[in-house]
């Protein structure tokens, strides 16, 4: 009786250990990588797309743009970026995924848990179920820039890691707007992401392991 429980406990601890964020680099790339980015609306979307525009799209294909329900601005901006890039690899290889918002603007705090849970289930559907189904990762790298909704994406990635499914490396880039203090999404995500990048040197002291490489947007 005790042995199976012990074995299960050891297994769970081992799986949790496997989910810890790691600063180690990926092995040398031998093929193209898939990329996903969350477009958090307004300024977050502009920043995230500016970052993505810097990448060589021939290396990062296909691309998945994750937008919140009802955010037509972000979807439009993502299409514009793809058009402007006019990738040489033939037809544009990207998808726009819509997920429910974890919390709406001005939504009372008490009603947040069910909304957030619904949002999380959608993320699990896209990230965990699809990985299970296709035996390949939802993306090789996931780029996050805020706001808070992107936390549910991070939880789904962790579920993949716990289950031993392939999972993207998660990179969080704090907004250029944050000079002296981390944003709420930065504070929430900092312990969980593989890379945590800030755009002002003053923020390096706010989070252990935060990296500063200069202005990125």
């Amino acid at each position: 009786m005790l042995l199976p429980i012990l074995a299960l406990a050891v297994f769970i601890i081992y799986r949790i250990f496997c989910t810890l964020p790691s600063r180690k680099r990926a092995v040398k790339a031998t093929k193209i990588k898939s990329l996903a980015v969350f477009l958090g609306s307004g300024g977050h979307t502009s920043e995230a797309l500016t970052l993505i525009s810097a990448l060589d799209f021939n290396r990062y294909t296909p691309r998945t743009y994750i937008v919140s329900e009802g955010d037509s601005f972000s979807a439009k901006k993502a299409r514009e970026l793809e058009l402007s890039k006019g990738t040489s690899t033939g037809p544009a290889q990207y998808t726009i995924l819509t997920i429910p918002r974890a919390r709406n603007v001005h939504q009372p705090l008490v009603t947040t848990p069910p909304t957030a849970l619904y949002s999380l289930l959608a993320c699990i559907y896209y990230i965990t179920f699809s990985s299970f189904h296709t035996r390949s990762s939802f993306a090789d790298v996931l780029i996050l820039n805020g706001p808070g909704t992107c936390f549910v994406l991070c939880i789904a990635v962790y579920l993949n890691r716990f289950l031993g499914l392939s999972a993207p490396r998660v990179m969080y880039i704090e907004s250029f707007a944050r000079v002296k203090s981390l944003s709420l999404s930065g504070k929430l995500l900092y312990p969980f992401v593989d890379r945590f990048i800030v755009q002002w040197p003053q923020l390096k002291e706010k989070a252990k392991g935060a990296e500063f490489l200069g202005l990125l947007v």
């Binding site: 680099r25 990926a26 092995v27 040398k28 790339a29 990588k33 307004g42 300024g43 502009s46 500016t50 970052l51 525009s53 810097a54 990448l55 060589d56 290396r59 990062y60 090789d140 790298v141 780029i143 490396r169 990179m171 880039i173 907004s175 250029f176 707007a177 944050r178 000079v179 002296k180 203090s181 593989d194 890379r195 990048i197 002002w200 490489l213 200069g214 202005l215 990125l216 947007v217």
Partner: protein
């Protein structure tokens, strides 16, 4: 010459009131400006109802031709046509205007909660001018765009190198 004022998506009553005030209009006129375009957002002021209905309101005041409207999907064309931009200290507006190389005066909105706009404006000190509502007219009067440093252009190489290294391409 044309000055453009933007308050962002929401409202900034004090900024709209300030730029329609005689002191600011006269300061602009004395610096050679003849036109003032104001993107008012949802700010409360005398013509709020008209601009909320999608109208563009034109008024003549203190020798300035003033154009007022609520918002547009992109302000890029307005920034390009302007000789001076006066704006709320939103990060997006700041980046866009500085990258266009336009002289910028920002007025952080003191009514915003957890105001980190002031910190951003202060950190960008060499590239733009910061003013408060009460000293906006004086700031315009003494503002010398040539005293500002040129903001560095967008450089995607750092982020590209970062992701490429993370993904094992280099």
């Amino acid at each position: 010459m044309r000055a453009f004022v933007t308050v962002g998506t929401f409202q900034f009553d004090a900024l709209v009131a300030a730029v329609l005030d005689e002191r600011v209009l006269v300061a602009l006129r004395d610096r050679g400006y003849t036109e003032l375009v104001v993107q008012c957002g949802k700010s409360a002021f005398e013509h709020a109802a008209a601009v909320a209905g999608g109208e563009t309101v034109y008024i003549e005041r203190d020798g300035m031709r003033v154009e007022l409207w609520q918002s547009r999907p992109s302000l890029d064309a307005e920034f390009r046509r302007a000789d001076l931009v006066i704006g709320h200290a939103g990060a997006g507006t700041i980046l866009e205007v500085l990258r266009l190389g336009k002289p910028l005066i920002v007025v952080p909105n003191p009514t915003l909660l957890h105001n980190h706009q002031t910190e951003l404006a202060a950190a960008l000190g060499p590239y733009l001018k910061t003013a408060a509502i009460h000293d906006l007219a004086d700031t315009i009067a003494s503002f010398d765009p040539a005293s500002l440093q040129k903001f560095p252009p967008f450089d995607g190489s750092r982020f590209r190198a970062l992701v490429d290294a993370e993904m094992g391409f280099v």
